[in-house]
Amino acid sequence: MSMINSFLRFFSSLKLTVICLSLLFLLVIMTTFSQRYYGIHYSVSYFMTSWFITFTAKGFLNENTFPLFPGGMLVSTLLFINLLVAHFVRFKFQLRKLGIWLTHFSIILLIVGSALTHYLAVESLLYLRKGQPINYSEHSRLTELVIVQPSIDKNSDLIFSIQEKSLTPAAEILIKELPFSIKVLRFYKNSDLRLLTTKVKNGITQGIGSFIDIQEKRSLHRDDLRDSSSVEIELIDQNGNSLGTWLLSIDLDGYQRVVINGTPYFLLLRPLRFYTPYMFTLKQFIHEKYLGSTIPKNYESHIDFYDTKRQENRDIRLSMNRPFRYENVTYFQASFGEDDELSIIQVVKNRAWRIPYISCFLLAIGLCLQFIISLFMFLRRKRRQSRA
C-alpha cells in the first residue's frame, strides 16, 4: 500500500512538474537552434518526437547507440501522467480554483491532441501543372518502390507499392500476385549518380544501372531539398534463381522494364504517392506583387476540383490565408514554380484537428477566469487592508 502511495506521490508531485517543464524548455531550445543546420523536420524528429535523444559512437567492431537525454515524447508522457495523477490525488475541487482546474484539464487535452496529430496526420504535396489533371499527392521525403503490371484488357494498370520502411538491406519481399520476389541489396537514403559511357563494375547486371557510378551521400536534412534516394534490388523467380540486379533511383526518370514468363513488368523508385478519389486541374495561377515592388501581394490557384465518388464538380480558389478544407483534409497554397505554370499545394490530412481548438478554448477561458478571480481577491484584500 505504501508502495502505491509513494508511487502516487512521486507522479503527482510538483517537483516532477518543474523538472518536466525544464526538460521541455531545454528540448525546445535545442530544436530551435538545430533548425539552422538540419531543417525543421529532422530537428523535430530528433528532439521532440523521439523517446530518447541518442548518441551513436563508433566502436572498434560496431556502432553503439546510447540514450543521452530524454526526448520530447518521454517528457510529455511524464507530464501527462503527472497531470492526470495530480488531478486524482492532489487537486481538490474548489469553486475559486475552477480556472486552474480548467487550465490543467485543457493541457491534458492538448497533449492528447498533439499525440494524435503526430500519429494520425499525414502531410504531402500536390504538384499542379496548368491543365494537367492529377489525382495524387506526393510525400516530400519518403519514397516507394513500385512494380507496375500493365493490363491489356482493362483500362487500369496493377501497381504494387513497397514503402521505404520495408526497403531494408537483405529484406526479401514476396508479393502473392507476382511470379517473383524482390530482394533488397542496398538502400541509399541519399546518393550521387554519375552516368558513364562504359559499363561499371558495380554489381548491377540489368537496365541502365550498369552504366551508373553510384556514391552514397549523407542525408541533406533540408526542408527545401529532397534527398535523392536509390535502391539496388535483385529479382528472384519462384525456383530461387536470380533474374538479375537493378538500380532504381529518384534521379532516374522512366520505368525499367523486365519480362518474366512473357509478361512485362515495370520498376520505378518514386516519391511516395497518396492517391485520392478527387481530380485536381490547375486552371490558372495568379502571382501578384505590389505596384513597383518585389513584395508579394497574393498567390492564388484557381482549380477545377472533381470528386469522383460523388460525381461532383466545382471550382475552388486557394490563396494564402484561405485554404480549402474537404473531409478532414486541408489544401493550402504552399509554393509555386516554373514561371508560374506550377502551383504547389500542401495537403494535410488530420482527423484530430478539432481537439486543439477545444483545448485552446478551454485553456483561454480557464486562464482568464483564474486571472480575474485572483485579481479581484487581491484587490478586495488590499482595500480591506487599507481600511484597517
Binding site: Y290, R322, F332
Partner: protein, 603 residues
C-alpha cells in the same frame, strides 16, 4: 488646473515642431509643399517626403545626410543637379569593401557617387557572383557588396526618374515633345507614301527619335510611380516614362507632367502658387481617405513623434533623478502629468501609424518594439495607481527611452510602413495573435525589469525590507500571471492562425518555439513557487532570467534566419542581445546568492 497645463507640455513642444516649417524662406517652403505630393513607391502610396527620408536612410543610414534635409538632397538628385554626385551619401563601413573598391578611408564612413563611379563595373561583377552563393553561406563581404550594389542601383534609378543623363538644351521635354510628336506623325505618313523629306524635316524626325529613346530609358530606369493615371485598364499610378510615351495622354496627365517638369527645372526659383497648383492637381486624383493618409504621413514624418517621446522620457527621468537626489518632492505632480502627456503622445504615434497603414499596431519588428514599450509603460502606470511607488515612474521612463532608442535603430533598416507580405496579410490575425503576443512580451519585460531592480536594490542597499519586499513580490507575481495569460492566449491564437491558414496547428517554427519557451518559463517559475523550490529571491532571479527568454524569442529567433515569420530578420544586434543577456544573467546570479551577501537581509 495646473496639472492640465503640465499634461499639455509635451503637446506644446509638438506644436512648435509642426508649425516651424511655416516660417521658412520661400524656396524651402516650395520644397516643403512639393514633399507632400503623393506618389507610389515599393507598392505604397506615400508623400514624396517619405520616399526622400527612407532613401536617405537606405543610402547613408541617416535621415539627415550631411546635416541637410533629406528632401532637399533627393530633390536635387531627381532634378539631376550635378553637385549631388559629390555628396558623401553612401555608407560603407566594411573595410574589405573599401579595399576592394580601392577607396581611401573617410572618417564619416560615407562616400560620394563620383568616388564610386570608377569601380562600378567591378562592383556589379562581384555583386552578381556573390548572389550566386546561397544566402545562408554569404560572408559579410558578400552581403555588403550586394547591399552597396543595391544602394547604387537605387541612387541611379532615382536620378533617372525624370531626366536622361545626356539631357541637353536641345531636348526640352514634354511641352516641346508633344508638338514634335504630332508633326513627326505626319512626316512618317509621308515616308509611307514614299515622298522625299527635306533636311529640316529629317532633323526633326531624328530629334523625335532621340526623345523616344530618352523616354524609353527613363521608363526602364525609374522605380517610382508619381503620375496619377486617368486611363482605364492601367494601374492607378504610372511611371513618368509610361506617361511620356502615351500616344494620347489626357489633358490632366499632360498638364500634370508639364507642371512637374517645370517645377523640377526651376524649383529653386519657382513661385509658391505653382507648387500649390501642382499639389492640388495631385490631390484631386486621390480619394478623400487616401489624401488624409498622405497628409497624415507627411505630418507624422515631420513631427518625428517617437524621437520626441524618446527625448521627453529621458528628460523626465533626469529631472526625476535630480528631484530624488535633492529630495524635492514639491514638483512631483509636474513629472507625473508630463509623463502622462508623453505617454499620450506615444499612443498618438501608434494610432497615427495604424491609421496610415490601415493595419493593427504591430506589422514588423520596429512597430513591435514601439508597441511593447507602450504596453510596458501602461502596465507601469497601472501598477503605480495600485501601489503608489514613484520609482515605478522612473522605471517607465527608463524603459520608454531605452526601447525607443532600439526602435530608432531598427527604423534604419528601411520603410517602417512597408506593405505586408501575402503570408502575413490578415488583419484579423495580426490584430489578435500578434497584439496579444506583444502584450505578453511587454508583461514579461515589466516583471523581469522590476525583479532586476529589486535584486539590485536588495543586494546593494538596506532598504528592501518587509513591507516593500512583499509589495514588489506581489506586483511581480501579478504581472507574471498576466504575462502567462497573454503569452498562452497569443501562442494558441497563433496555432489557430496556423491551422486556419496552413492546415497545421503547430509547425515548430522558431518564432512559435519562442512563444512556447515564454509559456514554459512562466510555468516553471509559477510551479517552482508552488512547490516551495523558490522564495522571494529565487522568484526575482527567475523573472530576471525571463527577460533573456523573452529577448531571445522576440529578437533572437529572427537572427537564426529560418522559418515562416520572416517579418524582420535583423542585420546585427547579436552583440547587443548577448550583452543584455549577460547583464540579466549576472543580476540573476546575484539574486541566487544566499541571504548573508545581501545588504538588506544581513542581520
Amino acid at each position: 488646473m495646473r496639472k492640465y497645463f503640465y499634461f499639455f507640455c509635451p503637446f506644446l513642444i509638438l506644436l512648435f515642431l509642426l508649425i516651424k516649417p511655416y516660417f521658412e524662406d520661400p524656396v524651402t517652403k516650395n520644397v516643403t509643399s512639393f514633399s507632400q505630393i503623393p506618389l507610389v513607391f515599393e507598392g505604397r502610396l506615400q508623400p514624396f517626403d517619405s520616399l526622400a527620408r527612407n532613401t536617405c536612410i537606405f543610402l547613408s543610414g541617416k535621415q539627415r545626410p550631411m546635416g541637410a534635409n533629406s528632401r532637399d538632397v533627393i530633390l536635387e538628385l531627381i532634378s539631376m543637379n550635378p553637385n549631388v554626385d559629390d555628396y558623401p551619401l553612401f555608407l560603407i563601413r566594411d573595410t574589405h569593401v573599401l579595399d576592394f573598391l580601392s577607396l581611401s578611408r573617410s572618417r564619416s564612413h560615407r562616400y560620394s557617387f563620383s568616388q564610386l563611379v570608377k569601380a562600378l563595373p567591378q562592383l556589379w561583377r562581384q555583386a552578381s557572383s556573390a548572389e550566386q552563393i546561397e544566402a545562408k553561406k554569404r560572408h559579410h563581404f558578400h552581403k555588403n557588396i550586394i547591399l552597396l550594389r543595391n544602394q547604387v542601383d537605387r541612387y541611379l534609378s532615382l536620378k533617372h526618374s525624370f531626366f536622361h543623363p545626356q539631357y541637353d538644351a536641345e531636348i526640352k521635354h514634354f511641352s516641346d515633345f508633344s508638338s514634335i510628336s504630332q508633326r513627326s506623325m505626319s512626316l512618317l505618313d509621308k515616308i509611307h507614301r514614299d515622298d522625299d523629306l527635306s533636311s529640316e524635316e529629317l532633323t526633326l524626325l531624328q530629334k523625335y527619335g532621340r526623345y523616344l529613346e530618352a523616354f524609353q530609358f527613363i521608363k526602364q530606369q525609374s522605380i517610382i510611380f508619381p503620375i496619377p493615371s486617368t486611363q482605364t485598364n492601367s494601374p492607378p499610378w504610372i511611371k513618368v516614362g509610361d506617361a511620356l510615351l502615351l500616344t494620347q495622354p489626357s489633358m490632366h496627365t499632360r498638364s500634370y507632367l508639364t507642371k512637374l517638369y517645370h517645377f523640377l527645372e526651376t524649383y529653386t526659383q519657382a513661385s509658391t502658387p505653382e507648387v500649390t497648383q501642382l499639389a492640388q492637381m495631385a490631390y484631386q486624383s486621390l480619394s478623400f481617405w487616401d489624401l488624409v493618409k498622405v497628409k497624415a504621413e507627411f505630418y507624422f514624418n515631420q513631427s518625428q513623434l517617437f524621437l520626441l517621446c524618446l527625448c521627453l522620457y529621458l528628460l523626465l527621468f533626469i529631472i526625476g533623478l535630480i528631484l530624488f537626489v535633492y529630495s524635492l518632492p514639491s514638483i512631483q505632480p509636474f513629472l507625473r502629468y508630463c509623463l502622462y502627456g508623453t505617454f499620450t503622445l506615444h499612443s498618438l504615434g501608434i494610432l497615427l501609424r495604424m491609421f496610415i497603414q490601415g493595419r493593427p499596431p504591430v506589422t514588423n519588428l520596429y512597430s513591435s518594439v514601439i508597441f511593447v514599450a507602450f504596453i510596458s509603460i501602461l502596465l507601469f502606470l497601472i501598477l503605480e495607481k495600485i501601489f503608489k511607488h514613484p520609482f515605478l515612474f522612473a522605471l517607465s521612463n527608463i524603459l520608454g527611452f531605452s526601447s525607443l532608442i532600439l526602435a530608432q535603430q531598427l527604423s534604419l533598416s528601411g520603410d517602417t510602413l512597408e506593405q505586408m507580405r501575402a503570408v502575413l496579410d490578415s488583419n484579423f490575425w495580426l490584430a489578435t495573435h500578434v497584439v496579444t503576443m506583444c502584450i505578453g512580451y511587454g508583461a514579461m519585460f515589466v516583471s523581469g525589469f522590476i525583479s532586476s531592480v529589486a535584486i539590485m536594490f536588495g543586494f546593494f542597499s538596506k532598504k528592501l525590507r518587509k513591507p516593500l519586499l512583499t509589495q514588489i513580490y506581489q506586483m511581480t507575481y501579478g504581472i507574471l500571471c498576466a504575462a502567462l495569460l497573454f503569452s498562452v492566449v497569443g501562442t494558441l491564437l497563433g496555432g489557430i492562425w496556423g491551422d486556419q491558414s496552413w492546415g497545421r496547428f503547430w509547425g515548430w517554427d522558431p518564432k512559435e518555439n519562442g512563444a512556447f519557451l515564454i509559456v514554459l518559463w512562466c510555468g516553471i517559475i509559477l510551479h517552482s513557487r508552488l512547490a516551495g523550490l523558490i522564495k522571494h529571491k529565487g522568484f526575482f532571479a527567475l523573472c530576471a532570467l525571463g527577460n533573456i527568454v523573452t529577448a531571445f524569442s522576440w529578437f533572437g529567433v529572427n537572427m537564426l534566419g529560418v522559418g515562416l515569420h520572416s517579418y524582420g530578420f535583423m542585420k546585427g544586434g547579436f552583440v547587443w542581445l548577448l550583452g543584455f543577456s549577460f547583464v540579466q544573467f549576472y543580476i540573476a546570479c546575484l539574486g541566487m546568492l544566499p541571504d548573508k551577501f545581501w545588504k538588506s537581509f544581513r542581520t
